[in-house]
Symmetry: C2
């Protein structure tokens, strides 16, 4: 089977699943063609996942397909973009039909979930890795950048943090847990839900935004730097799930929430006057701090005293 | 050095080299933002090059940077698109500064050559491979597809074929040759020139087009299939360079020209009435055959008799 047959056979379903309005020409020619409505811009992001670095070499292909697209789609959420399409560059050691069928099934499910049409790509032989490029559209001038945070804004997150990082010992088969604990944590790791609708709702509201992929502290550092402000985070306000507390304990859960990036939740800054309206529609949004003059990120304890980030057992894949 | 520093340090020059009109936001946020003029569509193509599969593991990083971008830009040429921007997903076993500096220099040179701005990407640790996604713009409805060839059209190519395939024994260090022979062949392999200007000139003229990446016969097969026509190729009309004839001999040169895809020349179909005008501006364009009713690709010998494609020593990397 050559690469063209591979692509056609296993990704036909994902390709057809979403006839996105903007897709003029999909897989099969030298390029895909996308159209944008007048007054909109194209948002583009590229991410690579390498076996043994970003996911276990022998992991479930269905779960990998889901996760790979979710990770990329999350960058569209972070810009407030409406999903349009994606390309997949898949490098495989061999053309294993079972693996491909499962991978395509996971990819397709997440593609439907995110309203992203597969419009092209490349299939090559080599050590297992995936590069996805996602495309979205956003009204000109309304994309959510990292650089717009203003002194006085609130710092918010889109929901509970740390579950995916906490799930790593389960992902790697190093620990076990009861299903009611293991399942929600593993689901968060393997099929993170890109906060696309929240991102679109933040257009015209949030002053800065990103998706948490490097960990809350590191990513808040990116906002602080791009916006030339300081961010203060109240550690007690960072939302943790019951499953993560039960599995990892309070302290370790906090370390996962501050340092782990695999949840792909949004973090954003918001003028205080807009909070009530936003939370009415998005009850999971939580205020975790505020924007100050200065630079860098400062963590505060329960008594609002500056503390160093807790160190310890956070496991990086 | 982390991935962010890597990207910033080595690719800053390439990023800044072309402030393409369409680039609203480049590297540094969750997505890049591109704008399109009214009435234009976005052309997108993704290609992966894997070490040991598509290029020698130990090859010169400067040449690899040049070649990787040229290969991708050629897909824009094939659609008649005007180059806009690209993303680079680079997977490296280690952060070797010398290698990165040379690779970035080659990439930047080809980026300037092709008027492509680097707008984003990803740098990851793993076995060496590159995935480039290129973006171009094309007036709505004017993209050159594979599917428009009509009975009676001429089959043309953008210039001499086979040099890059013929260069493989030189690339792999299996043979040597005098500089006046080796240099043009190696140049064709390492820095193929995407026929971007020719592609744009073919808008509104060519009925079908692609860039020859799988080899002339295989790629003509793609046009025939997409257009539901037959293509006839006069073997004697396929243009061969003097260097290739000298290095490989007539018969082997022909095998390279028919089967080798590394030249990245355009192949296209053209109504006969448009040929003289086109050749006035593009003297390297050569008619090599014609479009007939039917299916598949037929090779003709010097006496216009159908023959099987010559088989033999063509070396695939």
């Amino acid at each position: 089977m050559n690469e063209f047959e591979l692509i056609r056979r296993y990704f036909a379903a994902a390709r057809c699943a979403q006839g996105g309005d903007g897709v003029v020409l999909g897989i099969g020619d030298d390029c895909a063609l996308l159209a944008l409505p007048a007054g909109e811009q194209l948002a583009v992001s590229t991410d690579t996942l390498v076996a043994g670095v970003h996911f276990p070499e022998a992991c479930d292909a269905f779960l990998l397909g889901q996760r790979a697209l979710a990770v990329s789609a999350s960058d569209l959420a972070a810009m407030g973009a409406t999903p349009l399409a994606f390309t997949l560059a898949l490098t495989l050691p061999s053309a294993n039909e079972t693996w491909l069928a499962e991978f395509a099934r996971g990819l397709q499910l997440m593609a439907q979930n995110c309203s992203l049409a597969l419009v092209g790509g490349d299939t090559t032989r080599g050590p297992l890795s995936l590069t996805l490029t996602v495309f979205g559209r956003v009204p000109s001038g309304q994309a959510l950048l990292r650089s717009g945070a203003r002194v006085g804004d609130l710092l918010c997150v889109g929901g509970e943090l740390g579950d995916a990082a906490g799930a790593l010992p389960l992902v790697l088969g190093q620990r076990e847990a009861a299903p009611e604990v293991a399942e929600p944590l593993l689901a968060r790791y393997w099929s993170p839900q890109p906060q696309l609708a929240l991102g679109q709702a933040l257009r015209g509201r949030a002053t800065a935004a990103l998706d948490i992929s490097d960990g809350l502290l590191a990513d808040c550092g990116h906002i602080a730097k791009a916006s030339q402000v300081a961010l203060e985070i109240e550690m007690e306000q960072v939302p943790l799930s019951a499953a993560l507390r039960a599995f990892a304990g309070e302290e370790q859960a906090r370390i996962c929430a501050l340092g782990g990036g695999d949840d792909y939740r949004l973090a954003f800054t918001l003028p205080p006057a807009l909070l009530a309206d936003l939370q009415a529609d998005w009850p999971d949004v939580r205020v975790i701090g505020r924007v100050l003059a200065g630079s860098g990120v400062q963590l505060l304890d329960a008594a609002d005293q500056p503390i160093d980030p807790p160190r310890g057992g956070y496991q990086h894949f």
